[in-house]
């Protein structure tokens, strides 16, 4: 379907256009191109795989106490960070590129996590406290006699993998198709997404939901037959996460570099204009929202076996907002920025909460304010500045200004329409 039935004469009798000129000028690389070089696929994937290999190597080869030794705890921690990075990637895809500020991505993460949690729960078998081979402990505790219908198939690993994609994807599809078709956008959409994850949190807190209520799903024993207590399993999960992140990054990179990426960027900047070019923004938004939800679901699924628990707290609106901060700090609109943000902020959180827990919220809140005020492009926006000060200074300010004014007009018209 590439031919248009509406044919018009393509050659125009125009004074400036007597001879068709198909040589596009070769300009020196611009600010935008430099950015993409820095975050080029090879660099990021290479860095990711090398560091994953380094961690694995140091964990296995060097003995405990050695300077180069990476402890099992650290491996788990890094595994967690990589899950966060994948999640940040998902948030960046919809927010950074498509302008949908989702304050409910935690819901997709948690749904993916619950899909995995259900599988892990069934793997416990009769080793639970009540020793019931079919029912998870909490169901026995609630005097349930059989599995609810939605737990059917949860013992199969293939079903689990399918659900990791279907669960978050379906929620995103239902919510997105409703919201985008009725053109709910901007802040309204953000509030809506937050309400959805809040409602889900309340729902999952109920015991009757059949997902373990308050306590969630925990006490996992093994995954695919490997004990979750074994350091080697933890290392395996870490490597699996790194690979998943690499694949996720490649998929995202493919999307944003395709024409699709340009369409969604256009939607972010001037949604109504995109319609008049002939695209249906709601379809594009929905598609990228669903893809992003699935990525978040995968992140959640990989996260659960590494931390050993999934509970309704993962749905809390604060979690979702924290994800947005990763992306804001790392630099939205650049994929590698999201990775940097997730890892840096999570690392800071680990350190802060260890040293002085009460200061963490101050720091997090302060980061929100400072980044939005002074660092709208995040860390990723800083790097090129440092690399090429002179060039970027005038250019960045230029684009910033124009973008700002443009955003203003769009938001205004959205508010009124």
């Amino acid at each position: 379907m590439t031919t248009s039935t509406i044919k018009t004469d393509t050659s125009m009798n125009h004074s400036n256009n007597s001879a068709p000129n198909n040589h596009l000028p070769n300009n020196k690389p611009t600010f935008v191109q430099k950015l993409s070089e820095l975050g080029s696929l090879r660099v990021v994937i290479g860095f990711l795989l090398i560091s994953a290999f380094y961690v694995t190597f140091c964990n296995l080869v060097f003995a405990e106490g050695s300077f180069f030794h990476v402890s099992d705890y650290t491996v788990s921690l890094f595994g967690k960070y990589l899950c966060y990075a994948l999640l940040a990637l998902a948030v960046d895809l919809v927010w950074g590129y498509c302008g949908i500020l989702s304050l409910g991505h935690g819901a997709f993460f948690a749904l993916g996590g619950y899909a995995m949690g259900m599988y892990l729960m069934r793997q416990i078998g009769d080793r639970g406290v009540y020793g019931n081979p079919d029912l998870p402990d909490f169901m026995v505790f609630l005097n349930w006699t059989e599995l609810p219908w939605y737990w059917a198939g949860s013992s199969s690993v293939f079903w689990m993998i399918a659900m990791v994609f279907i669960g978050p994807g379906l929620l995103a599809y239902i919510f997105g198709s409703l919201a985008f078709r009725s053109r709910v956008s901007g802040v309204y959409l953000s509030i809506m997404t937050q309400a959805v994850t809040y409602a889900l949190m309340l729902a999952f807190f109920r015991n009757e939901m059949g997902f373990g209520g308050n306590n969630g799903l925990t006490d996992f024993k093994e995954i695919l037959g490997f004990s979750l207590q074994e350091p080697s399993t933890k290392l395996g999960l870490f490597v699996a996460t790194a690979i998943a992140l690499a694949i996720g990054y490649m998929v995202s990179d493919f999307i944003v570099k395709s024409k699709m990426g340009r369409v969604v960027t256009a939607i972010r900047d001037a949604e109504s204009r995109v319609r008049f070019v002939g695209f249906k923004p709601e379809h594009y938004k929905l598609w990228i929202y669903v893809v992003s939800a699935m990525l978040a679901g995968v992140a959640g699924a990989l996260y659960v076996p590494q931390v050993g628990i999934i509970n309704p707290g993962e749905f809390s609106p604060l979690n979702s907002i924290e994800m947005v901060v990763w992306v804001a700090i790392g630099g939205r609109g650049t994929l590698y920025g999201a990775l940097i943000g997730a890892v840096v902020v999570s690392y800071a959180k680990t350190r802060f909460t260890a040293i002085m827990p009460e200061a963490w919220l101050f720091a997090l809140g302060g980061l929100f304010v400072l980044v939005t005020l002074y660092l709208p492009k995040g860390i990723a926006g800083l790097l090129p500045n440092i690399l090429n000060k002179k060039d970027s200074e005038n250019e960045a300010s230029d684009t910033d200004q124009s973008k700002e004014s443009n955003n203003t007009s769009i938001e205004k018209s959205e508010a009124s329409s």
Binding site: L101, F175, L178, A179, R181, S182, R183, V184, G186, V187, Y188, S190, I191, M192, Q194, A195, V196, Y198, A199, L202, A203, F205, R206, S272, P317, I321, V324, V325, A328, E358, L361, F362, L364, G365, G366, L367, F368, V369, V371, T372, L373, P376, E404, N407, T408, E411, K412, S413, A415, S416, S417
Partner: protein, 557 residues
């Protein structure tokens, strides 16, 4: 809406005055019976030395004093726990302990005395006849108490657990009773008695009269009677009389159920409106900052929290003025939250004009900081905010329907705030400036309106109202650092549901959401009701993104 609301109140008033004739105000207060201690002491002294035959006179004299000590002593006497010390004839209450010794308490002063052996004391004797009159005197005691509450409580007790003496006493007292409420209750009690033990005709008459009563025990007894008749049918065929009674009973029960249904509806509506007015208070501040100014303030909930903590601080600072603490807290909370709001506007939001998503994030950051600040200063635990006495208690309209004062005041207060805000925006020059700036900043500036100043003040106003909402919330929920978070999503949904920029829409949205929630609650439970409302709202906003009352206008691109 106001009109609807007042009409609703009028209806209720009319209804209950038909039902009960008068309004009963319930308040806890201490019984204040006057007594002559000296006289009491002499009468008590006589107890050990009076013969059984003369006892009747003595207890009548004692009961005439109407003191709590006498009531207590009568109860002891009935239970066989009233003794006197052989040595000095002091009347005491004796209770046996594990060592088979007796712990003594002075009946007159209620002061504990020694623990003594059985031999030191002697029981004050009674007989059956005396016990009978003691019981009826005891019943009379409360039934003739000058305090209306105690009389009502006594009759109610009889209604629930009737006994012959009590019924006899009431039969005697009912004619003398001055208070209509008490008299009616007494009549109901007698009718129930008649229903239980009367002849057939009496039973029928009782049922006819009782069907206007909403006392739970009336319905109870009627159902009991009905099931008794039903049971007897299984063995013997129903007599004509029983049949008539059965029909009458069924009709009366249906009548009562109908009326109960109405009051249950009214009660749900009241709870709904009261929840709605809390939502309204929480949301109208937001309706100003978000609706009128177009600024997203995620720290709005924390403004409420600050208001609640202001109430706490004021109660701590002036512990002697708890009664007035709320009145002091309202302006104080307005100032505290308002000033913080102005600070936020000046410091952060001003720099993010026209970037709503960034504003959202930055203000969320501020909300985290404020939460942590409060946590650091006041500890993460919930703080106790006291309720002044005038806020407690309830307005008992009939046996199954009462309005609690705190909810009632909150409804009235939130409507007052709403009207005040409407006035400020409509009638004052500040309101004019606010509307001018929100509609056309450049033009307003050209007319020498200081738009920056107006922004800050407007934001301060919205935040200040959130502070006031916090004062109200401190009376309803726990005051803790997370107080605001629970309300922020609801508040935003209320504003969006009502239609952004439309205060009346906010009012309607808040009230209808409140009512919807409370009507769902009995069916689904509160958590599920909450979820259903949230999901319903999300779906509604997908259908009508501009809310119930959208602002129309020619949109420019």
């Amino acid at each position: 809406m106001l009109r609807i609301f007042s009409a609703f109140i009028c209806c209720l008033l009319a209804w209950q005055s038909i039902a009960n004739g008068d309004v009963t105000l319930t308040k806890t207060s201490v019984s204040t019976s006057v007594s002559n201690d000296a006289e009491l002491a002499t009468l008590f002294k006589k107890l050990p030395v009076t013969k059984l035959s003369k006892m009747q006179l003595l207890i009548e004299q004692l009961s005439a004093t109407k003191t709590p000590q006498v009531k207590q002593a009568f109860n002891y006497l009935l239970n066989g726990e009233l003794y006197y010390i052989k040595a000095n004839k002091q009347v005491v209450h004796a209770q046996i302990n594990e060592d088979k010794k007796y712990a003594l308490t002075d009946v007159l002063t209620n002061t504990p005395l020694d623990v003594v052996a059985k031999s030191k004391i002697r029981k004050i004797k009674t007989n059956n006849r005396l016990r009978g009159s003691l019981r009826s005197l005891l019943a009379q005691f409360d039934l003739t108490d000058p305090n209306k509450e105690i009389r009502i409580a006594a009759v109610k007790q009889l209604l629930d657990k009737p006994n012959q003496t009590g019924i006899d006493t009431i039969t005697k007292l009912v004619k003398k009773e001055q208070d209509t409420d008490v008299r009616e209750l007494m009549q109901v009690t007698l009718l129930v008695e008649q229903l239980l033990n009367g002849e057939h005709e009496e039973k029928l008459a009782a049922v006819k009269q009782l069907k206007t009563s909403l006392e739970p025990s009336v319905l109870n007894e009627m159902t009991n009677q009905l099931s008794k008749i039903a049971k007897s049918t299984s063995s013997t065929p129903l007599s004509v009389e029983d049949k008539a009674l059965k029909v009458a009973l069924e009709k009366a029960i249906a009548d009562i159920d109908d009326r109960k249904g109405i009051f249950e509806f009214a009660e749900n509506l009241f709870f709904g409106v009261s929840l709605g007015s809390v939502l309204l208070l929480a949301a109208i501040g937001l309706a100003i900052t978000f609706g009128v100014m177009g600024v997203i303030n995620m720290a709005h909930g924390e403004m409420m929290m600050l208001g609640a903590y202001t109430t706490y601080v004021i109660q701590q600072a002036f512990p002697q003025y708890i009664e007035y603490s709320l009145l002091m807290a309202i302006p104080a909370a307005f100032l505290v939250s308002g000033l913080v709001g102005v600070g936020i506007e000046r410091g952060v939001i001003r720099h993010l004009k026209g970037r709503p998503l960034e504003t959202l994030l930055a203000t969320f950051g501020i909300s985290l900081i404020l939460q942590q600040l409060v946590r650091s200063i006041f500890s993460p635990l919930n703080r106790q905010v006291l309720t002044p006495e005038w806020m407690s208690g309830s307005w008992q309209i009939n046996p199954i329907f009462s309005l609690t004062f705190n909810r009632l005041y909150i409804i009235i207060f939130s409507l007052m705030v709403f009207v005040a805000l409407l006035m400020i925006l409509k009638k004052t020059s500040l309101g004019l400036h606010v509307r001018a700036v929100s509609q056309n900043r450049d033009m307003a500036r050209a007319l020498s309106i200081k738009s920056d100043w107006v922004d800050a003040i407007t934001f301060g106003l919205g935040s200040g109202i959130a502070g006031i909402a916090g004062v109200v919330l401190s009376q309803l929920t726990n005051v803790g650092p997370n107080l605001g978070q629970a309300y922020i999503i609801d508040s935003f949904l209320v504003v969006v549901f009502g239609g952004v920029g439309n205060l009346w829409g906010t009012l309607v949205a808040a009230m209808s959401l409140g009512a919807f929630n409370k009507f769902l609650e009995p069916v689904t439970g509160s958590v599920l009701a909450n979820i259903i409302v949230l999901v319903g709202l999300v779906l509604f906003i997908q259908k009508k993104p501009k809310g119930l009352f959208p602002q129309k206008g020619r949109s420019a691109d």
